[in-house]
Each structure stands twice: as C-alpha cells, then as structure tokens.
C-alpha cells in the first residue's frame, strides 16, 4: 500500500556529496518549506564541511594529513570521530579497527553514520522532530513517519532479491546501518588478518548512535554470528546478521519481526 507514504506532510531534500547522495525526509505536521529549507541549507553546509575534513580521497583533508604521520592539532569533531573509533575498536574486540588499514588511519567505516547523526542534530536544532537522514543506506530516524506509526518502518535490503526486503524494523529515535560483502567483490577487510572478511554476507545494526551503528555493522560482517560474543554485551543494540542462507537477529528491535525469518 502506498497509503502509508501519503499520510501527513512529506518533504524531501537530497544532496550529492562524498560520491553518493544524502537525503532527508521530514514529516513534521506543523512545519513549512521555509523551515525545512533553512535547516537543509545548514545540513548541506555541514555535509560538505565533513567531506573537506574527512575525505581520504582529498590529499588536503585533515584525515589525509593525519595519515601522513607527524603531530597535528585537531579540531573537536575530529577528536570526536577518533573517540568513536576507539570505542568501536574496543567494543568489537578489534573486528572494527580503523588503524589497521592500508595507508594508515581511516575512519571512513564510521564517518557516514557519524555524519548522519550530525545532520539529525542540525535538523533538531531547527525545531524538526519527525524525520530521517539517509546517508546512502545508513539512516538516522527521529519521531515517526506519521499517524499510526510508533516510529519509522525501515526495510533491510535483501542481499539476493532486489524486489524484497529481508526484514522490516520500526525505529523511533535511533540509527540503522548495513554492511555487506557479497555485492561487489570483497568490500570489508578483516583488520586482524588483512584478508577479506569471511563472517557474514550482510549485517544490519540498530541502536542509539549512527557512528557506532556504522562501525558495528562492518564489524559484524567481519565477525559473523560469532560476533554475538561482543555484540550481545552492548545494551540497547540490535542486529540482523545474514550468514549463508540464515538470518540471525539479536536485541529488542527485532523482538517482534525478524527473529524467525530466513533470508
């Protein structure tokens, strides 16, 4: 049914950045185009600022200069990203480790989700309460999609079938991120061995923080279902891991929906 998509007021904006597209979907009933436009301008500026700071493809970015070594004075946001990287490396037992990357420290596996959180914070500062930020498949959700929804019903891409979703999860205030290996060669490297990840074909993580969701999804592709060891110790986090032809779900987000589904 498309009806769900027609409820309330929907305003979308999108921006080409980082070689991909970031979009927002605002459903606040009482807002106006002018408010959304103003918020969106701030978001766009932040997206391009983040690109200038964190791009590993730009030789003059802060991250590129960090990778060349030496001592650097870094801004608070770079320090924040490094803190998240440390937290994720610790929490995942090293399955996520941006320091074990060819060419030096590379936080790219976390920055997209981190940026989505930043964008969500900007939209909230402009008074918006019900929206998603979609950073190329990593989403941060606030409020709900409209009347009749507790949150935002988000599909998890099916790794084999473009016409299906593997599961649907309702997210109110939180983030969802998905990583995978099977689609375009070996995308994820096991930082502990330097070889292609052999854990899960696809891993989706739901939780309170976009940066960590991004990192944990990548780490679960490395760990596979044996990642339960570290993942299930994280309070407030849920995951949907597809290994072989079996989907395994952990955590409260999937209590009702996905636990018994197979991919």
């Amino acid at each position: 049914m498309s009806a769900v998509l027609l409820e309330g007021t929907l305003r979308s904006r999108l921006e080409h950045v980082w070689g991909t597209v970031v979009s927002i979907d605002v459903r606040d009933a009482g807002t106006t185009d002018a408010i959304v436009d103003a918020a969106w301008e701030s978001v766009r500026a932040e997206l391009h600022r983040i690109d200038a700071v964190f791009s590993t493809f730009k030789s003059d970015s802060v991250i590129s200069r960090l990778r060349t070594g030496g001592t650097h004075v870094i801004a608070d946001d770079v320090a924040d990203v490094i803190d998240r990287c440390l937290e994720a490396r610790l929490a995942t037992g090293g399955s996520f480790d941006p320091w074990q990357v060819d060419g030096g420290f590379d936080p790219s596996g976390l920055v997209k989700g981190w940026a989505a959180d930043r964008c969500a914070a900007i939209l909230a500062q402009h008074g918006l309460r019900s929206f998603t930020v979609d950073a190329a498949g990593d989403l941060v959700c606030r409020g709900s999609a409209g009347a009749g929804h507790a949150g935002w019903p988000i599909g998890i891409a099916h790794p084999d079938d473009p016409q299906a979703v593997a599961a649907v999860v309702e997210i109110r205030d939180g983030a969802i991120a998905t990583s995978g290996t099977s689609q375009r060669g070996e995308h994820v490297t096991d930082p502990r061995t330097g070889t292609p990840a052999r854990g899960a074909r696809q891993a989706t993580v739901v939780g309170p923080d976009g940066a960590l969701a991004d990192a944990y999804a990548t780490a679960l592709v490395v760990s596979g279902v044996s990642g339960a060891r570290w993942f299930t110790a994280l309070p407030g986090w849920s995951a949907y891991v597809i290994e072989g032809d079996t989907a395994t779900a952990w955590g409260p987000a999937f209590d009702d929906t996905a636990r018994s589904q197979e991919s």
């Binding site: 049914m1 498309s2 769900v4 998509l5 027609l6 409820e7 007021t9 929907l10 305003r11 979308s12 904006r13 999108l14 921006e15 080409h16 980082w18 070689g19 991909t20 597209v21 979009s23 979907d25 185009d33 959304v36 969106w40 766009r44 998603t132 979609d134 190329a136 498949g137 990593d138 989403l139 959700c141 999609a145 935002w152 019903p153 988000i154 599909g155 998890i156 891409a157 099916h158 790794p159 084999d160 079938d161 473009p162 016409q163 299906a164 979703v165 649907v168 969802i176 991120a177 998905t178 990583s179 995978g180 099977s182 689609q183 375009r184 995308h187 696809q202 989706t204």
Partner: protein, 149 residues
C-alpha cells in the same frame, strides 16, 4: 546478477517520496520536494519537469542529472496514481564499466521502485557501494520526477 542489487538500495526511499507526490495522493500529500542537485552547476537540471497525458496515463520526466561520468534521466509512467513503468532516457555509457552498470542496475532499480509501492516501508538500509554513485543518482532523478509530478 546479485552484485547489482545493493547498488540500488538507496533508491526505494526516493521512490517512496515520489509516490507521495503522485496525482492520486495530491489530496493528502502536501509535498515540497526538490533535488539539491539542481543547486549545483555540475548537475545539469531543468531540461524537463514536464508531465503529459495520453490514454489515461501520466508521464513524468525527470531532470537530467550529471553524475560525473555521464547523464542520468528517467521518465516514469503513472496510471491510477501508481508507477507502472520507468524508462531511462539517458544512462551513463561513457565507458564499458559505466555501460555495464547501467545495464545491470537499471532493470533492478525499476523493479524495486515499482515494488516499493506495495511496501509499508519509509526507507531502506543497505550496504552501499558508493564508488559509482550510480544508483544514488538515479534516486535523484526519481526525486526530480516527483518534483515534476
């Protein structure tokens, strides 16, 4: 081909937004939808945006989006307020790689877009392989269709 699937995972949400703008939804959807791409000189927007009707169907043509290695432009056919077909008016063919991605991904994106009409989802989370940016640009094109609708 499985590998083309994830390339398109970002698209359905954009299609969902488009659906909210279709004529049948006009009574309930108060939508303001625009592509940020139109603000950029690099993205050649505005070659279209027109809609036309013939035999009960509405055709909405998206703006042309420059994805850096070619142009993307799509045209959606709506009937009874639903997307029934999406045609590519332009796809990147600059080199063999681009052409191959175009050939593999586009039919799947069309299927996904049409399937999204029957789903209750407001977005899709998927592993994204952003080096091409191809599917995400199609999302922009589809959003621009919505803008025109």
């Amino acid at each position: 081909m499985k590998r083309a699937l994830i390339v398109g995972t970002g698209t359905v949400a954009g299609v969902a937004a488009v659906l909210a703008l279709n004529p049948a939804g006009a009574s309930t959807a108060s939508a303001g939808l625009r592509s940020g791409a139109t603000n950029r000189p690099a993205a050649a927007a505005g070659t279209s945006g027109s809609t036309s009707t013939s035999s009960g169907a509405t055709t909405a043509t998206g703006s042309t989006v420059d994805v850096g290695y070619g142009l993307v432009q799509v045209q959606a056919t709506l009937q009874g307020g639903r997307i029934v077909d999406i045609q590519a008016l332009a796809l990147p063919q600059n080199d063999g790689h681009s052409a191959r991605i175009s050939q593999q991904a586009f039919p799947m994106l069309v299927q996904q877009a049409i399937a999204a009409q029957s789903s209750q989802i407001a977005g899709i989370s998927g592993a994204s392989y952003t080096s091409s940016g191809f599917a995400e640009s199609l999302k922009a094109a589809l959003l621009s269709v919505g803008h025109a609708a």
